[in-house]
Symmetry: C2
């Protein structure tokens, strides 16, 4: 085996500094990562060699299970737990986004945060009630809800505290999973909440709804009633199957684009009212403090954001040559329309390919061909959505939102939420990748 | 608790016989499946009652695992195995499509067929070779392939033998899973095969490629080279994570719309050539016999098809009232453009809502509101795609393709393949559902 003759490769057109390539590089056949085989008599032998006797081609394989699980060679593709023994505090499970591709987070890997563990709910005994400022309070069984008209939509869910470590005034050396693993994307199927609101008949004076879960903390949040009539859903299925227990089985409120905690899991009650409830998770925990000492109230939306998942911290580049820069972009205010990528720390930018059609309030995968020349580089991404929102540069973001000397640990959760500025990965001459700020 | 006053429900507009409803029924608030709560003093007590002390609201829940698994109350949502002990013959695992919704089949539930078990492949040792009528034979590691430009696309894969039981001249009393469970849909991410073909440089005289897997049978199939330049892919990821072992880990050939067996798993070799190989699985096994004694050669495409998953055999209707009729439609020749549903065995039809935007060669979920009046009904669906193809009626299909006295068992697999006519579910006055032909 020898390296393919690089003379066979046509020149690749750059569209921005430090080796960002035009998409037509994808069609040029000039990527040159294959080993070529010897010609002539040696070719026969060489061509046969790699096919020689791998053990798995010599004997029957394993028995088919009723539920498939990943290969044992993918055992690092699991969630990171903050509280693996289930001590009496919040349990975070972060999704291994750097190992994933496409736009779907498989259900076993979807991030979860539980404040009092995962309740073991019998769907035959669970009830959902809508009451308060309605024509008549109504109660639903799960079986009844499953007969209602359903809709299927792909949406991300992100914890308002995702990426909290990015508020640190020095870049934390951490993986995508550690920094940004509290976001995931799934195809959800459920009942438009408007169907239920119409059926109960809300009072014209009502402006809020208070959603409550059946976990032992009865986690509750205030949601503007208008959101209920827009795109809120009572979700029953996640990527085709019924919800995972940690994602709210047997049903959850889904509020596309609103911070995860509001998407009430184990939904058992919606109270229609004319004022917010000022609950723990919307006052003490999820009211981000600002540099001037004030705090945001009712800061719901996960704004436009993107980060590069591959290559990223923990995945070093073995050798100069072609790589694909790939990542995810999403926005709680709309559909991703554009992602720019830079390989020179923001001096020059090229437009990434985005997999289409992009869905609103859903992961959009972006891709950029890149030829790393072996010199230091800083790769980053920046996203736009169809509402006109753009991911803020770090200097602007920090000026407005502040930063911390180190990530502050708080028994009440994250002191800073809704980070949506850029993430930059610095590649050194050895191909090692560090988290950097520019 | 009492039933909601039905006088509160506005009349629902029918669009076809036996209770098929206009989609605006979804917005009318007239579905009436909730229990209403008592008014006045009793209301306070009644409203509180369903919230009283379910055990899961009284104590902290379970510890978060690194990989989520479904609720123990969903333990019937598993694949059905044809060969659970792994005897030395083919192993089928059928997907429980009647319990799923949306368009994605979760990876643990994706159907699989293995002819010699699931090989336990070490991705670091696996190689992929392209050779034959090429400028130069090339060899790729998995690591190298992961650096190539990737694409993400949602596609179904269906065994050519799926629905073989539908060739029986008497309707088999069987579930959707038993009849149609050898099809699934996933979001696949991989390398367009054209990238690799271009890199190897195929001879202009080449017309076929022979794909071979690394399982111990070295399952191989002949594929028109043109398909390789159209939409074929070397798939590396399935719904975001690396392929399941039973679906071809670490890589498979994906040929959107072509019968599953051609989508070579554990792909280790593609030979570029100017003639088909006439392998076992394209001559003895997958050449459907026709009524006149002739057989189809190279019958690749899974044609336009649909079936109702809910309600279906095994799910009886508890009471008259509102139900959603829901199912999946897909086509190997294009994008689903229209699905009609009938509740009177095909006498009248209404157009179902299809979740959009429909993707080519992918599951499309269709939905139809239905009010069952408690009288016998026969529900069925029929799909169209953007190539102009339409799902054939059973009489026409059988006239052309034949039927059998009973489903013939053969050591070589299915004698009949590519059933794509209608599936009809008969509902009797008790709400029991049978498989019927009309």
């Amino acid at each position: 085996m020898r390296k393919r003759r690089s003379s066979a490769a046509p020149p690749l057109e750059e569209i921005a500094g430090n080796g960002l390539l035009h998409r037509r590089a994808l069609l040029s056949g000039g990527i040159v990562l294959a080993g070529a085989m010897a010609s002539g008599a040696a070719a026969t032998q060489a061509a046969a060699e790699p096919l020689k006797d791998p053990p798995w081609s010599l004997q029957p394989g394993d028995v088919t299970p009723v539920l498939q699980t990943p290969s044992r060679f993918e055992k690092n593709v699991v969630r990171i737990l903050s509280n693996p023994k289930g001590e009496p505090r919040t349990q975070h499970a972060r999704a291994p986004l750097q190992y994933l591709d496409g736009t779907i987070t498989p259900n076993p890997l979807h991030f979860t945060i539980l404040h009092s563990g995962i309740p073991d709910i019998d769907p035959a005994a669970h009830r959902f009630v809508i009451h308060g400022m309605v024509r008549e309070p109504l109660e639903y069984t799960v079986e009844a809800l499953l007969r209602y008209p359903l809709v299927t939509r792909k949406h991300f869910v992100e914890c308002g505290g995702n990426s909290a470590g990015m508020f640190s005034n020095a870049p934390l050396q951490a993986t995508v999973q550690q920094l940004h693993g509290l976001v995931s994307c799934a195809e959800w199927t459920g009942i438009p909440l408007s169907t239920i609101l119409d059926e109960a008949g809300t009072d014209p004076k009502a402006t809020w709804m208070i959603a409550e879960g059946a976990d032992s903390l009865l986690v509750n949040r205030s949601v503007p009633l208008q959101k209920g009539y827009e795109d809120a859903m009572i979700a029953l299925y996640q990527n085709g199957e019924r919800l995972m227990p940690g994602n709210g089985y047997p049903m959850r409120l889904l509020l596309p684009g609103f911070e995860g905690n509001m998407n009430t899991k184990f939904l058992r009650r919606i109270l229609i009212t004319d004022q917010p409830a000022m609950t723990f998770y919307e006052t003490r925990n999820y009211s981000p403090l600002l540099p001037d000492g004030k705090a945001y109230r009712f800061y719901f939306i996960d704004e436009v954001k993107s980060f590069i998942t591959k290559p990223s911290f923990g995945m070093n580049l073995k050798e100069p040559g072609y790589y694909e820069i790939s990542g995810i972009a999403y926005s709680g205010t709309g559909t991703i329309t554009k992602v720019l990528v830079s390989a020179d720390g923001g001096k020059s930018w090229g437009e990434a390919a985005v997999e289409g059609p992009a869905a609103p309030k859903a992961f959009t995968r972006f891709r950029m061909p890149w030829r790393w020349d072996g010199q230091p580089a800083i790769i980053t991404s920046r996203a736009w959505d169809d509402s006109g929102a753009v991911q803020p540069l770090r200097a602007d973001f920090v000026a407005k939102r502040g930063e911390t000397e180190e990530p502050v640990k708080s028994p009440y959760g994250f002191p800073n939420q809704h980070y949506n500025s850029l993430t930059c990965w610095g590649v050194d001459a050895k191909g090692q990748i560090k988290h950097v700020y520019v």
